[in-house]
Symmetry: C2
Subunit: 680 residues, 2 copies
């Protein structure tokens, strides 16, 4: 049939169909379900619907020539090009009409459901599919011959021009509607939120005329730091990031001391809630400033945090989390107006808080799950987020378990004699010569190792003030590799004879890393027997939690490991395994997940289906409370040894030469204590 | 089969079924879909599920004897009887177990969907089916062996014990949940609202333990007065009523002057919104005080009002309603948290505002429709609510039309020389002797007619200060019946010769109703030619609006008439018809509807389906804007005559002897004006 309608083929989707001459390309795309973006609804304003008329593709598709097959570059496109610029070869698909057989290429940035690569280390892509969408509409003017209200005509426009129905709106929209419509000469941009409780679509914001800025902010509320990422809801790209210290630190360094503060000070939870909400507002203002947008352009906020932070930013007294049975007020995802959290974003902005998993396994861990996707793995994945508690998730597509293990603050440098926060001046890397027992180390703030020329000059400003969490892990692991401690963690006092680094102290021994000259004010940096034991207790707790979940799952081996959080980012996975923090695993399959909780928040922000996903996954995670598991204590005791008393470490042994078992004579009282503990 | 399970028959429903021995009667009722109320869910606390074991019914149902067929009065029932009292013969159906064949009578007050007779004048009954229900639940305690959050266990209890799912809640519920659960020892009462935007069920309030008070308040926000009815949501009964003057009166007596105030004073709408919301809070506190409840027991508020009031209490600038095209910001029903309207009821209370029909036909008229139900009539019903504008609804089950007609304030006594508000001292009834032309009248505040002994003493406190709306209607109608004015409304000056009541004034004549003694300060009460004309203009506008709708419907006759509002309550329908305010109709079928708008609000408060009903009806009402209807002017001119120039009045003529047409010589300039006006 020679008089058939022209054929149009879209790439990369390959979707094709025949349409009458004169049909706009955008309209044909919609009819075929081709994914082309638009905010203005085909009015040549937003420029989101750009396409390329497929040069060179014609022969391939059996289409002979290009010239006559689309309408000429129109005045409307010329105007758009003049005002906003249109790259060479690009057309606005809403203005380009079919005149003959045709191939149209939709570039990635013109797709509604753009893919955002989640992070460099991983190829899992996130589809941009936000809960809040902007819709430019032209609204009928009021007509006395067919009386109807302004809001009804807005709903009609959203239905007819965008296919959106089942609409409701905030009272604030109604109170601003008439002025906005008249200011915009009956053209407005509406933000529609699709996730309000109960269902339906909610009109949350309106602007006169065309408005093309819709942002969201993903916030990870940590006990120590709060990090925010401002994200463009139309592209999924991060526009700005910022972090601040959690101001609640003035109420207590660690979580439990903050819970205690509330218990001791009636109304204290209100103070802490106010402090955190103020910090959230400061952060939101800061990322908006960086990106050069108004905070009123922030239409959504997604929050994660551990259970205590979660309760406090929601305004819930965390007292119940301070003691058994550790009952959460709510573990369900929370969707509420952001203004109810005291956040000053767009007045119609909504907040989404990821679900909590259990009393000690919070929305931050849900963020880790969303980011690392253990529920999509065929092999068993272990995801660990280490803080004062370690939050542990283990499993695969088939089954997922989670628990929290009370590691205590040793991994963060607390309760360690030379321990300190990860800050300039802190030792973060260390190597020990197994022959001479001499250490070399790196300090935060300098690139040089301590045995390199110019090291002392490089650190002159800060000095060496202590050792941070990752430094302690390496120090103890290297002490083990160098034979300074044996598998039981006992410092071999007999080495004092051959090395001044081994220092007697009361009835035990220390390993001295740095002893400053007599003139300086810098402290001696050493690892004491107590420090080693604190690390052993912490790592045993972590391992025991992991082992408990492995038992429940009936496995002896994990396929891959993700270490999340600041600690997981800085730690060298090899040392973590030497120390026995984590079970044996192929070393290449142990990776840092960075701020996976924050990444999870960003995923939930840009992709609405991810919210359903994490809510469903969290529901089916089996929650294990270590405190009531009899096996936990046994695993804990067995895990005190380095790397472990009984578990085999084939992958580790293949990668690292582990020292032969060594009998170290216990020195005085301390060794006896250790033995009693091991009998447990 | 002799060993079949016992048969249980419920009256009055007649539902029947067989259940194992030991089944509680309430459980059998639920299984059969028998309507028995319960707040406590079968725990012998609420006493809502009372039944009577059907004495004397046994033979009729073929059941031989009563004694052995239910379990004995239990200790639990005895305890309930001791604490709250149980009438003789009553049993708690949750505690009464089936032991043999049985008839159970469910008294009306034990039914969930109790019927409330809407008002004395009408037999239409309203089913009690509120949007907010109380549910007593027992919540599982937290258990470390199966960690779950408190809110999740509350939702589980609501699902398992009440069949309620798809739940969401306010953040405030979550923040109070843990303390409430522990205070109530894991027993709480939850209020669940089923009408939140988007759908689903919303947990709006919680109390520790058993709580059995749930109220709603229906408020009619009139331009002049605001009336509130506190209603028990479980029985549908009004618990208290109160009214206050609308404090907005200080911004302007009538609606348009208030709109002008906003136009002239930037931010003036905020002042008026604050004033009205403050009045609503005062009223709510007053009805709560009267009923002896806490305002926190008020869980819902339903509001009606004309479009300007509607916009102002919602916080919407009413400027657009002040001029063509009279666009409403929203005509849709509004469902929003009551706190967003600044109302201090229960913090989780919801507000429902009935839909508006058009720019001059408001939510108050929707209330009239819900109350008078023209959409359920087989014959044509005319419902009229007269204020500064008359709001008119006409139609039946098949088709419904509405419009507003600019009657002006004459019917309220404004712009009438001796006019005043309906208040003590105002003449409200008047009769004129057709022979002597002497009047007799009644004054608000006294039961005596002016020709009765002791009249002057009875009114000594107030004097006679003016004439109110209903008095003016009667005065003009009686003047017509007495031949003082002719059909054209012209005062017959020739009568001045025979009666001192006819008084010359400039070039026209007055009718003097009361001329106080020379010593007093009281005014002369008279009806001037201008007064008659003002009433003619008002009634012509009203009639023209009605006639316009009759044209649209293609009818010449209405089946029944409802006069709503204060004016409609005080007016004598016969005089309204003599004057030609309303079309001819069988007099017995013209009734006052009282405060029908407020009644509509009460119906929407106690019956959730009524909200769907009125929203659906309003959508299909055909809205007519009189300002753009060419026929309106013609109808207006024709309706100036008393009762009407051309329309027949067969029913009126049968009931009242109307004067023969009379030619009155026009007196001077005024008559000329009148003739010009009639020519249009």
């Amino acid at each position: 049939m020679t008089d058939a309608n022209p054929l149009i083929v879209f790439t990369p989707s390959g979707k094709r169909g025949r349409f009458p001459v004169g049909t706009p390309v955008l309209q044909a795309a919609r009819a075929l379900g081709v994914d082309i973006d638009s905010v203005c609804g085909g009015r040549a304003i937003c420029g989101r619907c750009q396409v390329t008329v497929g040069e060179g593709e014609f022969a391939k598709h059996g289409i002979a020539s290009r010239a006559a097959h689309v309408s000429a570059f129109s005045d409307v496109e010329r105007r758009y090009d003049r005002i906003k610029g249109l790259a060479a070869g690009r057309r606005l698909s809403c203005q380009t009409r079919i005149t003959g057989d045709l191939v149209i290429d939709v570039p990635p940035e013109s797709q509604v459901h753009k893919q955002v690569v989640r992070k460099e280390a991983d190829t899992r892509a996130i589809e941009v599919d936000p809960a809040t969408r902007l819709c430019f509409i032209e609204v009928e003017e009021p007509d006395m011959h067919k009386p109807s209200s302004d809001l009804e005509r807005v709903y009609k426009a959203l239905k007819e021009q965008w296919g959106i129905d089942n609409l409701s709106c905030d009272l604030a929209i109604v109170t601003n509607l008439q002025k906005t419509l008249r200011k915009g000469a009956w053209k407005i941009t509406a933000a529609v939120f699709s996730r309000a409780p109960g269902g339906g679509n909610r009109l949350v914001a309106i602007w006169p005329g065309f408005h093309d800025r819709a942002f969201g902010v993903a916030i990870d509320v940590g006990s120590t730091t709060i990090a925010a990422h401002l994200t463009d809801l139309s592209t999924g790209q991060v526009a700005a990031s910022a972090g601040v210290m959690n101001p609640q630190i003035r109420f207590g360094e660690d979580l439990m001391s903050r819970v205690s503060y509330v218990m001791m000070n009636p109304g204290g939870e209100r103070e802490m809630t106010d402090a955190i909400r103020q910090a959230l507002n400061t952060l939101a203002a800061e990322v908006a400033r960086q990106a050069g947008i108004d905070t009123a352009d922030i239409l959504e906020v997604v929050l994660v945090g551990n259970p205590v932070m979660h309760h406090l930013f929601l305004g819930i007294d965390p007292t119940e989390l301070g003691g058994a049975p550790f009952a959460l007020a709510t573990g369900l995802a929370v969707t509420c107006p952001a203004r109810e959290l005291g956040l000053t974003l767009n007045p119609g902005a909504w907040a989404y808080v990821l679900p909590c998993i259990a009393g000690h396994v919070g929305a931050d861990t849900a963020g880790v799950v969303l980011s690392e996707a253990p529920h999509e793995q065929d092999e068993i994945m272990l995801a660990v987020d280490v803080g004062t508690n370690a939050e542990i998730v283990l499993g695969s597509r088939a089954r997922l378990l989670a628990c929290s293990s009370p590691t205590g603050p040793a991994f963060e440098g607390a309760q360690i004699s030379s321990g300190q926060r990860a800050a300039p001046g802190a030792i973060e890397r260390i190597r020990i010569d197994p022959v001479t027992l001499e250490p070399r180390y790196k300090v935060i703030g300098s690139d040089k190792w301590s045995d390199e020329d110019g090291f002392e000059e490089a650190i002159a400003n800060t000095g060496v003030t202590g050792i941070c969490g990752s430094g302690i892990i390496e120090a103890v692991a290297e002490m083990y590799l160098a034979g300074i401690i044996n598998q039981d963690g006992l410092i071999d006092g007999s080495l004092a004879a051959s090395s001044p680094r081994i220092e007697a102290a009361n009835r035990t021994f220390n390993y001295v890393i740095r002893s400053p000259g007599s003139g300086g004010n810098e402290p001696v940096i050493r690892i004491t027997q107590n420090d080693v034991r604190a690390i052993q207790l912490a790592k045993a707790a972590l391992y025991a939690g992991i082992r408990l979940l492995m038992d429940k799952l009936g496995i002896n081996q994990v396929g891959k490991i993700r270490l999340a959080g600041a600690f997981g980012s800085h730690i060298d996975v090899k040392y973590a395994m030497i120390l026995g923090l984590i079970p044996d695993c192929e070393l290449s399959k142990v990776q840092s997940a960075g701020n996976a909780a924050g990444t999870g928040a960003r995923i939930a922000l840009v992709n609405v289906k991810a919210r359903d996903e994490i809510e469903a996954v969290v529901r089916r995670i089996e929650k294990i409370e270590t405190a009531v598991e009899p096996m936990f204590q046994q695993h804990f005791v067995e895990a005190m040894a380095i790397p472990h008393k009984t578990a085999p470490f084939p992958h580790l042994a293949a990668a690292v030469t582990l020292p032969a078992p060594k009998d170290v004579a216990p020195a005085g009282q301390d060794g006896g204590e250790r033995r009693r503990r091991r009998r447990g």
